[in-house]
């Protein structure tokens, strides 16, 4: 979307940039004149869904955002939470869905780059990444190459910068055939008193530009990310940014070093909408104005227009407000690291932006009306007409051979081992990874303390599709449960709300209901939302993705000495099932993958029961009573038991008073634990006092998994199941 200098500015041009007729009128009204092309470009970026949250804002207000540990909630580049010993955790998750579908390798890579900058721009050193990925059916067009490209892109970027990718999730559903999801999460740590913010201040303070030069890549990426896909999307390939992880690594070190000079007032990365959003947002937060001379911006090639410079999304760039007279100290650091650095403007009084190029004023506008007073929409929301049919209780076929059903489930891409994915990510660099990918939650050592940080990302889009309120609740509850399995207490969450077209009332209903469900669970389980991102228009040719509100949650393990494994570690341990089975199959993996049924109400989420279970797991872990703890989720008890035997190839023999189908029920608030026989009574007593149903179901040992159920017996060799499970994904991908 390069713009000729003489381009006419009118409503038609505005519409091409994604502004509605009403929004264009609003802009001309604000200015009292026809905007220049640069002004129109700036406004369309700032008012894009991606930057302004105009359709989601009214609903996001429902999230609880404060708490005892929260130092910074939503509104900055990332959330900040106190994790003890003088340390804070800084984290956020963001989507890079649209770019990754157009160009998977660069799209995913720059998604990682962008989220890392959001974290180190706040003065934190990134120490971990998670990736939540959703792909379509493997046989859908381009799908295998999309998967390969995304995984390579994430790996190349994170590995080179040297930040371990310690977890995440990879799911599959046909609704993502034409619109995959790439949600990247980063967490950094900083000393509590050394957090930096993106709030410009100090009239006369210079504005510095540091990092890569500006080129024509990614122009109007934020607007592209706020549009849906069609056959024309291929033409948008030039709007995908190109990443350079080596420059990111150097920029990271230079920024952290420059922050130690004491000369930085405010700093923000140039992410979506590049120089536009970084300068306008910083000025808006600080209630000041700014003047920019674009002739001083380091360019990759000469001849870029003001419009192109303001809208470029070239990667690995930062904007810094330095203290007047001290900017040399900052400049020297960037030069030492071999990076471009230039003074491109200054902070002014009066809240206006003035942008020059070639001696001409290309934009002159008041800032607040474009940022704080961006359009906000109360879009209509309505449940789908066929909701009752979708939620009607499904017929649940009873498996003739539950052992065969289990093996088939473990061979689906959804439940198969994801080791093929995470072995391509460096998950041990930085030497803090205590529990890496493949468990319930990753655990990182907070060096110099006994404390661990636990991370997980969760959502079940099928549940959200069948009942968005319950699905939203479940995503938060499962994350809390996963953290509890490693003994961690949640301190905050970030989310990535991926939905279809908000102009469709059904989609708006999904969004509203998911948010309400999440908010309910956050309140009940005391987890504040400290940052997040909304990605709308995830649809292709009118077909929307399943509602996918990805939750990434951070928890604290007070003492790492006691962390149980997610799998059985020794023979002779007692196996105890916590929670209650209610034979719930709506949206279950069993129905969906083995019988093609996606119907019914998803499992009920009892938030009180979830709270009791999480408290119990943390208490048991804190007293070193557990050898293993693993939550029950997709695939139910049978899959959880199988997974628990894989880690150390320790079998188990259990008996449960359940029918064959119930082995695959996905009732919530359940977990499997294993402890030494000497501790079993104490564990059961604890459970009783905590009000958590607990039943000793058997013991570990041997090389087989044996489950006696009502009317039969499931028997399988652990080695054979493990082979099926571990080879399924690479074999299905044929890579």
């Amino acid at each position: 979307m390069s713009a000729p200098a003489e381009a006419v500015v009118d409503a038609k041009r505005a519409a091409e940039m994604g502004l509605s007729g009403e929004e264009y009128e609003r802009l001309t009204g604000l200015l009292g004149r026809t905007p220049s092309l640069t002004e129109l470009g700036i406004t369309s970026a700032l008012w894009s869904e991606h930057c302004s949250y105009k359709s989601s804002k009214v609903h996001l207000k429902n999230f609880p955002t404060s708490g005892a540990h929260v130092l910074q909630g939503p509104g900055e580049n990332a959330g900040v939470v106190d994790v003890g010993h003088g340390w804070v955790a800084v984290f956020k998750m963001e989507s890079h869905n649209h770019p990754s579908f157009i160009e998977p390798y660069q799209g995913a890579a720059t998604g990682v780059g962008g989220i890392l900058r959001d974290v180190f721009t706040m003065g934190a050193r990134p120490i971990a990444l998670l990736d939540s990925l959703r792909f379509g059916e493997l046989d859908a067009p381009r799908m295998r190459s999309l998967i390969d490209g995304v995984v390579r892109g994430i790996g190349t970027y994170g590995n080179c910068v040297g930040i371990p990718t310690v977890g995440g999730e990879t799911g599959f559903h046909r609704s993502y055939n034409g619109n995959i999801l790439v949600n990247a999460f980063a967490l950094g740590i900083a000393r509590r008193e050394r957090i930096f913010k993106a709030r410009a201040a100090g009239v006369g303070n210079p504005i510095l530009y540091a990092g890569s030069r500006t080129g024509r890549d990614g122009i109007h990426g934020a607007t592209m990310a706020s549009d849906s896909f069609d056959a024309e999307s291929e033409k948008k390939r030039p709007t995908v940014q190109v990443g350079d992880p080596f420059t990111e690594k150097v920029l990271l070190e230079a920024c952290l070093e420059a922050m130690r000079t004491g000369a930085i007032v405010a700093i923000q990365d140039m992410g979506a909408a590049g120089l536009t959003s970084s300068t306008f947002e910083m000025a808006s937060r600080g209630g000041v104005g700014f003047r920019l001379d674009l002739d001083r911006v380091p360019l990759r090639e000469p001849g870029l227009s003001a419009y192109e410079i303001m809208l470029s999304e070239s990667q690995e760039r930062m904007v810094i407000v330095a203290q007047r007279g001290k900017q040399e100290a900052v400049t020297r650091v960037f030069q030492r690291w071999g990076l471009e650095v230039a003074t491109i403007g200054e902070v002014t009084a009066g809240g206006r932006a003035e942008i020059r190029r070639g001696g001409r004023i290309e934009a002159a506008m008041a800032i607040a009306p474009l940022t704080d007073q961006a359009p906000v929409y109360h879009r209509p929301a309505a449940p789908p007409a066929d909701l009752a049919r979708r939620q009607a209780p499904p017929e649940v076929p009873v498996p003739d051979d539950p052992g065969a059903a289990l093996a088939r489930l473990l061979a689906t891409p959804e439940l198969a081992s994801k080791e093929w994915v995470w072995r391509q990510y460096d998950h041990t660099v930085r030497t803090s990874t205590v529990v890496g990918p493949g468990g319930d939650a990753a655990v990182l050592l907070l060096k110099g303390t006994p404390t661990g940080l636990a991370l997980t990302s969760d959502v079940n889009p099928v549940y959200c599709g069948l009942d968005p309120r319950a699905g939203g609740r479940q995503a938060v509850a499962e994350a809390v449960r996963n953290l509890a399995c490693v003994g961690a207490e949640p301190v905050g969450l970030t989310d990535c709300l991926n939905f279809g077209n908000p102009e469709n009332p059904e989609i708006m209903w999904q969004l509203r209901e998911c948010v309400l469900g999440m908010a309910e669970a956050c309140r009940a389980l005391a987890v504040p939302v400290v940052s997040g991102n909304v990605s709308l228009y995830n649809e292709t040719e009118g077909r929307s993705i399943l509602p996918t509100p990805t939750v990434a949650m951070v928890g604290v393990v007070p003492d790492l000495g006691d962390t149980p494994e997610a799998h059985f570690v020794r023979a002779g341990d007692r196996v105890i099932l916590l929670g209650e089975d209610r034979d719930e199959h709506g949206g279950s993996a069993y129905l969906r993958w083995l019988h093609g049924i996606e119907q019914g109400r998803p499992p009920a989420v009892d938030l009180d029961a979830e709270g009791r279970l999480a408290r119990l797991l943390r208490a048991l872990t804190g007293q070193s009573l557990l050898h293993a703890a693993h939550d029950l989720s997709e695939g139910g008890l049978a899959v959880a038991l199988a997974e628990a035997t894989f880690g150390a190839r320790v079998g188990a023999r259990v008996a449960v008073p359940l029918g064959a189908a119930a082995l695959f029920s996905e009732s919530q608030a359940r977990a499997l634990i294993a402890c030494s026989p000497a501790h079993a009574d104490r564990v059961l007593e604890h459970a009783q006092r905590a009000g958590v149903p607990a039943r000793e179901i058997g013991e570990t040992g041997g090389d087989r998994l044996e489950i006696a159920f009502d009317g039969g017996r499931l028997e399988a060799e652990v080695a054979a199941l493990h082979r099926t499970w571990s080879r399924a994904l690479p074999e299905a991908l044929g890579l």
Partner: protein, 236 residues
Amino acid sequence: MRCGVVVFPGSNCDHDVYHVLKHVLDQEVRFLWHDEPRLHGSELVVLPGGWSYGDYLRGGALAALSPVMGAVREHAERGGLVLGICNGFQVLTEAKLLPGALRPNRGQRFECRDVYLRVERADTPFTREYAAGQVLRMPIAHGEGNYEHFPYELDRLERDRLVALRYVAPDGALADEWNVNGSARAIAGLANAGGNVFGLMPHPERCAEEVLGNSDGLALFAGAVRGAAQLAGAGR
């Protein structure tokens, strides 16, 4: 014991090596900036993992020509101890301080996982704390760790006993499926003829503390520190 950890702009295991030397082994450590041809009296020099200068050409190709490497070369020629880990091993081969080259992994993908190593030589300063034949578990994380050299050179390496570590199965036997990057002769680590320059693809610094579930790598640093102290004591 003065240790130096070289920092190229794209090094990303520099802090990890520093941590082990300083906080686990309680040694004096400083970072050595790539742009300066000085080692500041370091007796043990470590080239850490990472992407030295981006390595878009070949791992370590540019780093081999950097100012600091001139000083490292002199140090090595005087018999000083030099350890290259992962990217540092690549730099040492590119600088011809160790023979051979590291090509993209056989599977053409980055591999991050635990591997098993058999100690072939326990008489270098870096392996002296191990027993010959001992099997170690160590993480790898690389895309280009596939060791290669001409066949007659490989024969010479074997004859001169320069191969210090080999990829093996957990029981210590050679097995192709455990040679995960496809290295010639399953070579994971090499020493020079003097034993004072040592390179390996696996990351001993990532398995040097019990809290991480594995401390098999600690003895490599402990041996190097002791070896360097002896060299210093001999007043070379």
